[in-house]
Symmetry: C2
Subunit: 163 residues, 2 copies
């Protein structure tokens, strides 16, 4: 059975991946020089799927922070790392939904990056670095999803026997 | 507790949504007339994310067919609809993975359709109908995902007590 320490570690890992992917995504800007002093800029918010990614990252980060706070609170009260007191129905559903949200964010990011990059290459736009950073953000979100999926599976096994 | 009849109904619904979305996606073609007898055609396989969608649909359909066959086989042996004999660990993990696969397929489809449509509109290409069909396929895949997610939750609750 999963101990609180394992669950806490996975939640912290999720948080780390989410925060790094948030930074990578939101700082993603690329500039194209047209004439001497004319520039065209592409930012992450110009791509709708990246905005959705941002949404999933924000929701995931907020949820993970709440869960970490709750786990720490329980640990302080019980003053031990190993014992656990079952998974509530709310935790089970929330973990399941959180993992789906992160999965869809990452998938939307990969899908749009691959296709927009090929369109951009075909037209000859110099946005390769922009889309590479898009891949990086989607990959980090994928790692966060893997942690969330493991947490969701642990929640399923931790469901109280009465259900 | 979920009866076999409920699980079978959800599996059949998943299959129906998957088959319709497969037909909608693979028959999606749009033609643009350039000159008198010159045409440019866009097909679903020109969009990488649509190919990934197709992959998730094929995997989802194959898995759902296997599960339906297994359920029917069990029902014939036991000759009753209501009883159930627990969920194996394999079913639990397979249902979980299947629901993630369908979620990512749908998300990639929605993401790429939204952004490619806005690029296509900006350039003035007449591919609205093509992308509307892309939305339709992604929506049907979303419905299939919802059924798969419900099945995954039922599997979690049906896990044997020993775990």
């Amino acid at each position: 059975m999963a101990s609180r320490a394992l669950i806490l570690t996975l939640r912290l890992l999720t948080l780390v991946f989410l925060v790094i992917s948030l930074v990578v995504l939101t700082t993603n800007t690329s500039t194209m020089q047209i004439y001497f002093n004319m520039e065209v800029q592409i930012r992450f918010r110009d791509v709708y799927a990246y905005r959705y990614m941002l949404g999933t990252m924000v929701v995931g980060t907020a949820y993970t922070l709440i869960q970490i706070a709750q786990t720490l609170h329980r640990m302080c009260k019980a003053n031990q790392l190993i014992s656990r007191d079952g998974v509530t129905l709310f935790d089970f559903f929330a973990d399941q939904i959180a993992s789906y949200v992160l999965a869809t964010g990452s998938a939307a990011g990969f899908g749009v990056t691959k296709d927009l990059k090929s369109v951009s290459d075909a037209v000859g736009l110099p946005y390769d670095k922009f889309f590479d950073k898009g891949y990086a953000a989607a990959s980090l979100l994928l790692f966060a999803f893997v942690c969330a999926a493991l947490l969701s599976i642990l929640s399923s096994f931790g469901l109280p026997k009465k259900f």
